[in-house]
């Protein structure tokens, strides 16, 4: 079911945390609300499921205006960061809860719980209590409980934050699998760009209560609308150089050397203040221009190696390359820079 926020406004006491936000989540789509803590992403989620009252605007599920519908009647499934399982109930009672409070008959509940337990692979855990489950199992139970009454929307609030690294990888693909199998519209709230990029069809990146950009993960990575988005996506992060255009298609870093600008910016007038963003994979792999400097830091990561290269004028560029041992700390290198893929931002931080 399509979810639409129209001019959604949320205030806490006198503080407006979200001002007139607009967002549409398409039917069957999984959308990530990505942003740093305090950006309003969880607030948005809780407004969609009705835990928080909204102070302005509208929330539509399909064509139904649910802005003033209590959360009990919105038919949403929510997975909370701490799973919020009911500790005094068994797993099957936990999953059955949304059905039993609705007053479904026993046989139907039993059938539905079985089906959803099969989908989430927890059939053998049904008799246990939450305290007897591991984190990943609790996560699956929470997911099953959220899905059991076939909600219009599935909302996930940092669902992987409490899991260890290995389980996180596993549950990432599990959640995505279940979402695709059920075809449910889902909204994932996360501060982890990897989760957002790997699990979702589209990402809405938020900062300070505002959506900065909505795009597919690839588009957003390739063409961030501003410096914040560029800096938020990517690990290891992008290197941002401050400087200005030279007028002849090059970029002068504050304090010295020049770097090439992408050809689309060839006509930018001289002295225009710019920030140039260089992702680690754009330096050292391929490209027309050569940049030379000294390796000042090496971080082997197994499959890849991360290098810091300090140029003659003190500018540090980062490079990530398939693991190599032919260069070491202190070596002088001249590596290619893929100028066409560099990101440039104007003085206000917007992409140019």
């Amino acid at each position: 079911m399509q979810v639409t926020l129209k001019d959604f406004t949320k205030t806490f006491d006198d503080m407006t945390v979200i001002d007139k936000m607009n967002l549409t989540v398409e039917d069957g789509e999984m959308l990530a609300l990505l942003g740093p803590s305090g950006c309003g992403k969880s607030t948005t989620l809780f407004a969609i499921c009705g835990i928080h009252r909204i102070n302005g605007g509208q929330i539509l599920f399909g064509t139904r205006d649910v802005s003033n519908v209590p959360s009990q009647k919105r038919n949403v499934g929510v997975v909370f960061q701490n799973y919020a399982l009911y500790p005094h109930l068994t797993v099957s009672e936990n999953i059955a809860f949304p059905l039993s409070v609705r007053g479904d008959d026993k046989a139907k509940i039993e059938r539905e719980v079985r089906a959803i337990a099969e989908l989430t692979h927890i059939e053998e855990l049904l008799a246990r209590r939450p305290a007897q489950l591991s984190g990943g199992q609790q996560q699956r139970v929470a997911l099953a409980r959220a899905l059991v009454r076939k909600p219009d929307v599935l909302l996930l609030d940092e669902p992987l934050a409490n899991l260890d690294a290995k389980l996180r990888l596993e549950m990432r693909s599990e959640i995505r699998r279940i979402q695709l199998e059920t075809g449910i519209t889902a909204i994932l709230v996360t501060h982890d760009q990897v989760e957002a990029m790997s699990m979702c069809d589209r990402i809405a990146i938020m900062n300070k209560g505002e959506i900065l950009q909505i795009a597919t993960p690839t588009d957003m990575y390739r063409a961030p609308v501003n410096k914040f988005v560029a800096g938020f996506l990517g690990n290891p992060p992008i290197v941002m150089l401050e400087g200005k255009a030279s007028g002849d298609g090059r970029f002068i870093v504050n304090g010295g050397a020049g770097l090439p600008l992408p050809s689309r910016l060839a006509n930018i007038p001289g002295d225009t203040p710019l920030s140039l963003g260089v992702r680690p994979e754009h330096f050292g792999a391929a490209g027309a221009s050569q940049v030379s400097g000294t390796i000042t830091f090496v971080e082997p990561q197994g499959r890849e190696t991360l290098f810091d290269v300090t140029l003659a004028d003190g500018v540090v560029l980062r490079s990530i390359q398939p693991a190599r041992e032919d260069v070491a700390l202190g070596h002088k290198v001249a590596w290619p820079l893929d100028a066409e893929k560099l990101l440039a931002f104007d003085a206000t931080g917007q992409a140019v």
Binding site: I51, S71, Q72, V78, F80, P130, A131, L133, R145, R149
Partner: protein, 437 residues
């Protein structure tokens, strides 16, 4: 090394152990000991002496002791010895008269007052007035009635001297019965309690009082905790403090306020009068209103206690669980019934068991308000025990009986605690959670 550390530990614990022993174990042990004695104000708590009183003689007669012996013990005799002469001198008998008595009657015994008096009348310097003569005989009277003998042997010797013909067995029985100190009476106190008709009444009163007050405590406590939980923070704080007042008010002041509230011309009285409802002293005027007063007086104190504990436990439930239940479609009532209450099991158990035990042993509010009245309709076990042991109107405090009553209270409390723990599956509650984060 190992021994030294464990000794050190023992050293650290020993003050606590000493306090535990002195203030917890000793009272229980002493109560148990007292419960099997007939200690009272009359017997004292140290040893006693041997005295035969008129009452005792009558009791012994009723108990079937030979009447001749009883008569012999009850009789007084007069004898002139150096001791009685000294006593007479002290009593102020004229010295010349006394000298004559010593010279002529020394060593003689007289069976009764009349023969001694006639003997005295024969003396030249006898007092002219008959009253003085009679007064002069008094120091020479010897009787074991109301005479204290320090040991049993002394008493037996005295009995033998008074009633030489009495068989040894009888003498022994009388000497035994003449003991004024406390003695072991095995289960005598408990037997007395069983035989008393008012015991059952007090037991029923106690059960009713505890059950009704407990129900009030738990339900009102829960109700307050849950309603304040859903109230906005500022209002909730105000209400919490309001409900705490009964608990933080000194008990006597609180009882006095209830008196003002319920007594003749008190708050309720005046209002009822205005409304044309029956107006009387609600605290003591009728049995139902007396019970209502007691239950409310104690109930409000306990309700605030329950409220505090339940509120704390409520706040310990992660808010996400409540959110989750809401988005799962649970109404407020379903949320309370199915999510909140099951998780309050432990505090409810605690309040229930703690309050049962404290209500069982509490009497001070009742004592200060209805004092068990009207009649003994609101007298509970603890109040009766207190009155028996420490507050008897006639002045004879029956420590032994009071201790027996207290001991029964302790036993009932223990049994109840064990029952509660089993009922609420305590072992399961304290199981280590295996939750992973």
């Amino acid at each position: 090394m190992r021994t030294r550390t464990s000794l050190l530990g023992l050293g650290f614990v020993s003050p606590a152990l000493a306090l535990l022993f002195a203030f917890f174990l000793m009272p229980v042990v002493l109560t148990t000991v007292f419960a099997f004695t007939n200690m009272s104000t009359a017997t004292g708590i140290t040893g006693g002496s041997h005295v035969i009183t008129g009452n005792l003689l009558r009791d012994l007669g009723n108990a079937g002791i030979d009447n001749d012996v009883i008569t012999a013990l009850g009789e007084a005799s007069f004898s002139v010895t150096s001791e009685t002469l000294a006593a007479a001198a002290d009593a102020g008998v004229e010295p010349r008269f006394l000298g004559e008595i010593e010279a002529r009657l020394m060593g003689q015994n007289f069976e009764d007052a009349r023969s001694f008096e006639s003997a005295l009348k024969s003396l030249p310097s006898r007092p002219t007035r008959i009253r003085e003569l009679k007064l002069a005989t008094e120091p020479f009277e010897r009787s074991i009635l109301n005479t204290r003998y320090a040991s049993r042997a002394d008493m037996e010797a005295a009995i033998t001297s008074m009633a030489p013909d009495a068989p040894a067995e009888t003498i022994s029985t009388i000497a035994e019965a003449s003991y004024t100190g406390w003695r072991w009476i095995d289960g005598g106190n408990f037997q007395t309690l069983l035989d008393r008709p008012e015991t059952i009444r007090i037991v029923l009163n106690t059960v009713f009082y505890v059950a009704a007050t407990l129900a009030f405590n738990v339900f009102v406590g829960l109700f307050l905790a849950i309603t304040t939980f859903y109230l906005p923070k500022t209002g909730a704080g105000f209400f919490s403090v309001l409900w705490l007042l009964p608990r933080i008010t000194p008990v006597v002041l609180y009882a006095v306020m209830w008196k003002w509230f319920t007594w003749d011309n008190g708050f309720l009285y005046v209002i009822a009068e205005q409304l044309g409802l029956p107006a009387f002293n609600y605290m003591k005027g009728s049995v139902p209103t007396a019970w209502a007063t007691i239950i409310l007086v104690n109930g409000f104190v306990g309700a605030s206690f329950g409220m505090i504990l339940f509120s704390g436990a409520l706040r310990a439930i992660p808010i996400q669980q409540l959110w989750a239940s809401e988005v799962d479609g649970a109404s407020r009532w379903q949320q309370i019934r199915q999510i909140i209450l099951p998780q309050l099991r432990w505090p409810i158990l605690f309040v229930t068991s703690y309050q049962t035990l404290s209500l069982l042993s509490s009497y001070e509010q009742i004592w200060l308000t209805t004092n068990g009245g009207p009649g003994s309709t609101t007298t509970v076990w603890a109040l009766e025990a207190f009155n028996t042991a420490l507050n008897n109107y006639t002045g004879n405090l029956e420590y032994g009986m009071g201790a027996a009553m207290a001991l029964i209270l302790v036993a009932v409390g223990l049994v109840l605690s064990i029952l509660y723990l089993r009922m609420f599956r305590f072992d399961e509650l304290v199981n280590k959670p295996r939750i992973e984060f």
